[in-house]
Structures are given as C-alpha cells and as structure tokens.
Amino acid sequence: MGVLSRGFRRGRRDRSDGRLPPGQYDVGDDFPVLSAGPTPHTPLSRWDLSIDDETGRRVRWTWEEFRALPREPITVDLHCVTTWSKFDTRWEGVAIDTLLQDVETDTGFVLARCDGGYTTNVPLEDLIDGRAWVVDTYAGEPLAPEHGGPARLLVPHLYLWKSAKWLRGLTLLDHDEPGFWETFGYHNYGDPWREQRYSGD
C-alpha cells in the first residue's frame, strides 16, 4: 500500500438498503459517460436494428418500424464495472422477448453488435423472460448519443458494459463469442452481485 495521505478519504456514497452490490458506490444524480471510442452518429434514416439467427436469417426494423413496436417503461438500477451504481433509472423501450417473437432458434448465445464496432456477448437466457430491452428513451427524453442513442441494449442484472450502446444488431450463435471487453480480461458473464468484473473472478 502507498503512503497514507493525511485527511484523504474517498468521496463516495454508500447505501444501507441492500441494493448496492459489493464494491460499488451510489453515484447519485450524476450519470457518468464512459466510452472506449468516438460517439457514432447514425442518422435515423439510415438506422436499422436486426436480429440474425444462426442460419443467417434476418429480421430487421427501420426506426419507424421499431418505434411502432409494443413498448414499456422500465425502472432499474445500473451497475458499472468502474464501481458506480445509479438507482431507479427510468427508460422506455422494447423487450427482447418482443423482438424475438418471430425468431425461432436452438442456440444459447448472443453477440450484440454496435455502431463504432463495439460488441458484447450475453447468454440468450439472460435476454429473455423480461430481463432485457432495447431502449431509446431515458428519463422521458430521447436517449442522448453519449449514452448510446438512438438505441442501446439494456441488461440491468449484469454490469453495464453488457448494456451495449449504439446497438444495431443481435446475432444468435451456437457458440459463445466474447466481445470487446470480454476479449480483454473482463469477465465473460459479469454478475455484479458476485462481483464478476475480471476474467478469473
């Protein structure tokens, strides 16, 4: 350990209601913007969202088609691997269950693909049964580009790097395909309650 700095303490908030996973702190009203690259700016006229199954069949929505899908409000807590958590965040979007309605698959793995090249992998069972959404609205406003707009994946029971920003597609695979951070020493699954931050945790 380094030399103790007299009078220095972390400026971080704790919570006592059991909603803070181990090693996290409550970031309060702030919503940190963290990115591994420049913000993509895809015009809505060129945006689409697609789901490719393991045979290569594709289901696709334009922005207008996506906006016309059944949607719901979502209020969840977010947990970022960089240790901040944000509580009761309000979103609006389409459940992955809805997007998968016309998709038949035997596979168990999904790779999320995004503008800018970011990818992340999630087991299919972690995206269905009401566990995940594609969201385009935050706190009642259109999702800002720096937070992943026009639309991002939202998988709140896993660390926030799994909630891929600037989502453009989900690819269903018969094998696990580690994504951008998973190929760089971060945990393949990422459960904040078991503090699965890094590979080997």
């Binding site: 380094g2 030399v3 700095s5 007299r6 220095f8 400026g11």
Partner: protein, 252 residues
C-alpha cells in the same frame, strides 16, 4: 545508466509539501520538495497518488509548472466542485504533509532550450504556445526555462483565461505573453478580449510562414477548437502538439 534513469521514473517518491497557496480564486499552487529529483523537461508531468486509511487509492496527473532550474516542484491545481482529489489538494493539504508522486513523465509534449541548441534543423524555428485556463501550467515551465536559459529561440504564449484574477504565473509570463480575457474585462484592460479564434491567432501568434512549432494545452473542447483553427490557417498539423485536460467541467 539507462536502467538507472528508468528506475527513477518508475519509482513512487515521497514529496514533502513546502507550501500550498491560493494563486487565483480557483487555483492553488503546491510547492513540493522531492529529494533526489532527477530533473525534468519543461512540459512533463507527474502522477500524484493519494491513499486513504481504508486503502482507497486515487491518482491524478499534473503538469510541472516549474522549470528544471528550480529545485522545488510546483504544481497548479484547479479546485473542481464535486471533485474527489482537487478539493483535497487545494483545501486540505498543508505544509509538511507527504504526497506520493511518480515522474517525470512524457516525452511528447516537451520543449527545452538545450534540445534547440543541439537541433540544427528545427531548433531555430519559433515556438508558439496556446493555453486555455489551467492548461497554461506546462507553459509556465517552458517560459520560465526559456528566460533562465537565455534561449535565442523565438517563443510566444497566447493565454486565454476567464478574468484577470484568474491569470496564473504572473511573475513568469512576462513580455512574450498575450493574455485574452473571456468572461470579465476590467475597465483599464489593454490586452485581448474574447475567445481564441482565427482572427486572434492570425494577429497574435507566429505566422504560418515562420513555420512555428506549436503546443496547445487546455480543456479538450478548447484544444480541439484551437487545433482545428490553426490547421485552417495553414499550419502544418505535424508540428502541432496537443495536451487535452479532458472536459473542463468534469469533477476530478
């Protein structure tokens, strides 16, 4: 030899605080004593590491505001509201406290008189410094060093800051510095006013024909705007070096 130089740069050293004084309303100057400091080049920075009692560690980079000729190390720290480290370094730290730091770091954003004397090809080209706010810190080291070394390299600093009270390094910036105030201008102000734009750069900095070596430092938006404007004016991008301090509004 080379390994010894490497060892020194990697080692965390204890710095004793000699002074912590408010230099402007938002910025404090920390004066540190680091025994066996190996010396540094103007423009380099150090990393300061703070350790709390519970083991929590925070690290931040600070440009060295003092030239290598001055034995103590000077850091200028801007207090950012809601920050974790800057309120501690500005409001809590006092004389005789110990801070851990590592350095000097960075060979990309440096200028020295000796390098110019040794460099026959580029050493006579003028040096233009452009600073936004607390981004002036590495340039204070360069300007002070330039004067102490009696360097013949033409050197100018264009320094943008909010108000006259926010000007850092008054004892050092001297006659080769143009200050522009962007927020509040005193009635008797004779200097520039307003943001650094193409017109001000054309009037107050070395012209393109002089082929200056340019350094720009400040918040990321400032640096990007100035760099883009310099390139539009015709300066060669390969002779423009940038040091972005990140979002100026970000708590640190």
């Amino acid at each position: 030899m080379a390994r010894a130089a490497v060892q020194r740069r990697l080692t965390w050293r204890s710095a004793t605080v000699l002074d912590n004084r408010a230099e402007t309303p938002r910025v404090h100057r920390l004066v540190l004593d680091v025994p066996d400091w190996p010396g540094h080049l103007p423009g380099q920075h150090v990393v300061v590491r703070l350790t709390a009692e519970d083991g929590y560690v925070a690290q931040r980079s600070y440009s060295l505001a003092s030239p290598p000729e001055v034995p103590e190390l000077h850091l200028t720290v801007e207090r950012l509201d809601g920050g974790e480290v800057s309120p501690y370094l500005t409001e809590e730290v006092r004389r005789d406290d110990i801070l851990e730091l590592r350095g000097p770091i960075g060979g990309y954003f440096v200028w020295s008189a000796a390098a110019d004397r040794a460099d026959g090809e580029h050493g006579r080209r003028p040096v233009q410094l452009v600073a936004g706010g607390s981004g002036v810190a590495p340039f204070l080291a360069m300007v002070d060093h330039h004067r102490r070394q009696d360097s013949s390299t033409p050197l100018r600093l264009l320094y943008s800051t909010r108000t006259q009270a926010d000007v850092l390094g008054r004892d050092v910036i001297g006659g080769t510095t143009t200050v522009t105030l962007t927020r509040e201008v005193p009635a008797d102000w004779r200097g520039e006013t307003g943001r650094v734009d193409a017109d001000m750069l054309a009037r107050c900095t070395f012209p393109v024909a002089d082929r200056p070596r340019i350094f720009v430092c400040g918040s990321t938006p400032f640096v990007e705007s100035v760099a883009a404007t310099l390139i539009d004016l015709g300066h060669d991008p390969s002779w423009i070096r940038l040091e972005r301090y990140g979002n100026s509004g970000e708590a640190s």
